[in-house]
Amino acid sequence: MTVEFTSPRDAGCPFAPPPALRAAAVEKPLSRVRIWDGSTPWMITGHAEQRAILSDPRVSMDEKRPGFPHLHAGNAAAAEHHPRTIFNTDAPEHTRFRRLMTFPFTAKRVEALRPAIQKITDELIDAMLAGPKPVDLVQALALPLPTLMISELLGVPYDDHEFFQRCSAIAVDRDAKPEENVNAQLGEYLAELIMDSPSEGWVSDLAERVRTGEVTVAEAAQMGVVLLIAGHETSANMIALGTLALLENPDQLALFRDSDDPRVIAKAVEEMLRYLSIAHHGLRRIATEDIEIGGEVIRAGEGIVVALPVANWDPTVFPDPERLDLHREARQHHAFGFGIHQCVGQQLARVELQVVYGTLYKRIPTLELATGIDQLEFKHDKLAYGVHRLPVSW
């Protein structure tokens, strides 16, 4: 019987990938999987096979190709109208888009943001400690931190932070009304900011590229919106879900609480990324030629779904994958994907998580969950996995 891609997770083990997908992975590194429209594309679960597929030029991300295994009905209907972006093009077209987005994220530039990230983190924790408890960690820290950080990176003036934060909150609010089109509002806001000859942050770089004719104002503003949307909820989920995982594994939490060694903290963050693998929606691709892999042949025109969390729990690469082990060598994980579409903001995410995990439990060593783990609502149906709320006390 063909496995359903949206198989449920085990209620008693909310961090593990769905048991049905893991069971399929034990049998074979790739197998057929059923998705929302009843079609049965290939699901890649093996770690080595994911590397091979995601770096294979015969594998396309062009959602306009017939047979593409869309994420949901909405995307299937809208695909032909989507503008071409880094999210639906292949090399060499993709290369141009990608290179316009990479410059704020060099290791050096991101490292230079560390003091600002530390300051934002400390201020949010100060406010938490001064306020009532229990408090929802998602609202108090996990969501505002990435928003403030992206404001900083973009160069959004301080006076506009509140507007920016409000738009970001609406953008990820599942109860938001469709008429509150915050993407458009943010796009307009960023376009104005870019045209206003800014002197700081990514917007000043973008303004320069608009002047030289490399990009239009609209394209530049759109990239800013993409950055915000992609970098906001993902980081927030890692902060809140990560804190939950650490509270459930106090011996591991102790490492972040007790260590001041940046190398130890950095290594531990890689394991958090592996263990949680929040990008659980399955990367979508399509074969443009026949591809022999793992004893099977993926035919040209067949869809491919890459189940990142399953490969991050591949026991041949990560022994005892169900164990959160912050001393583990986990850098080979696929939490950011692999291949030319690998997360463009990954170094920023790393520094951010190093700062947050390395600070929160030192500042609040008595942090505890203020509800039962069985009372928490998990984001099963969202692009990025996480918890909707995380009530904590201390």
Binding site: R99, T102, F103, F105, T106, A107, K108, V110, H341, Q346
Partner: protein
């Protein structure tokens, strides 16, 4: 160890710099890889091999 890089393939993920900062750097304007040392000493060899293995674009080639 002889290291070569393919700047056309590079997608500026920054993985190589995180793995071996003495051997790899990034261009300021777009993050594309810059090779600082094409013949790294033995004590950096393991980091360089690791950099090649985590490069998502397979843009680092090593000859031992």
């Amino acid at each position: 160890m002889k290291v070569t890089i393919d700047q056309d393939k590079c997608v500026a993920a920054g993985q190589c710099v995180m793995a071996a900062a003495e051997v790899f750097d990034q261009r300021d304007e777009d993050g594309i890889v810059v090779l600082l040392n094409d013949n790294p000493p033995a004590d950096q060899a393991e980091d360089v091999r690791h950099a090649a293995s985590v490069c998502p674009a397979l843009a680092i080639i090593i000859e031992e």
